[in-house]
Symmetry: C2
Amino acid sequence: MASANPNKQQRSHSRLKAVLDAGAMLFATRGYKATTMRDIASQAGMQPGSLYYHFASKQELLQAIYEIAVEQAQSRLDEAIRSGKNPQAKFEEAIVCHTETMLDQDNYARVMTGVLPGDAPEIEAELTTLRDGYEDSFRRLIRALKLPSKVDRKMLRLFVLGAINATRTWYAPGGKTPRQIGLQIVEILKQPL
Amino acid sequence: MASANPNKQQRSHSRLKAVLDAGAMLFATRGYKATTMRDIASQAGMQPGSLYYHFASKQELLQAIYEIAVEQAQSRLDEAIRSGKNPQAKFEEAIVCHTETMLDQDNYARVMTGVLPGDAPEIEAELTTLRDGYEDSFRRLIRALKLPSKVDRKMLRLFVLGAINATRTWYAPGGKTPRQIGLQIVEILKQPL
DNA sequence: CTAATAACCTAACGTTTGTTTGTCTAAGAT
DNA sequence: ATCTTAGACAAACAAACGTTAGGTTATTAG
């Protein structure tokens, strides 16, 4: 009969993962437009044309990486939320977790903030949908929070995520750890100015 | 004698401003790499080659725009700071002002957050210096603030600026006004979570 | 009026880009 | 042992890119 293997990988020494890793690292640090297919191929140790065996276009490669990125971030976030005893603690754990995820060099998640809207117009809707799913976790966390009436929940979410996502522009290994940075933003939110 | 005019513009109908406006608008919304010289020329109503009468390269055009951007933002910020009665009020005024500046479509300032580091490697140092000058105002404001001992001043600055700069990714005219958004971030900082 | 030149235009240059094409090779199935 | 094909390679393609060169026009100084 035909192949009894319903899964994908049929060959052992495929360099699909190398391509994804290279693309994720380059998209995350340089952005989408500034990263060329030749850059990715070179980083993955292969020829530019070979990338098109795995993906039909640059945009499809981005989409595949983006999906993994959201998936990785989501599972880490779910675990962090579980560890919080109450809504307040859950929110704080989520903040620290998201910060660590965004500053982790070996994680794909930085691609989410490294790609500008409008960079890949034809798949922008899909990327936005993926990202919205992730941010929904924060929506739920904040909804369950007891807050002063003056605080707009939507604004709180956008400000916190914005502040965390911006850390990637100034973060440098060797200084404060991602965890310390995450804890500091929690501290600033808790202390009245 | 030679020209008794020490200033720049010698011809009345130069379209330098149109070039700067077009470049600022496109760099701000699409980013540096995604904006082509042909895009800018088209937006300014002229030919691509004509841009090189005013600027020797794309990077020089960016630098000129960036300088104006920081200048505009700086003067607006100085005025806002002056209007604050005490350190706390000055800081709050600065937050609202910076938010309004970043969301103003007719201002060059959005270029500061629209250009990724590494987009223009040869002038990156100059751009960073310009931007650091602007952020120094916030450094001084926060230094004069009375804060809980647990709050790291550097982190407070980076988080607040990060949150405000991120507003440009989700802001849409028709909803909350830039001023309302700025006031909300002040409110969130003042209310203990 | 004439000469100079500021401010453009037209047309192209060489390079880089995403992508396509055809060929080769080694591994798994029969 | 043979056949098939996953997975790569080398080489090129057309389009788009930043940029350059030379020509044109209209203003202005003398």
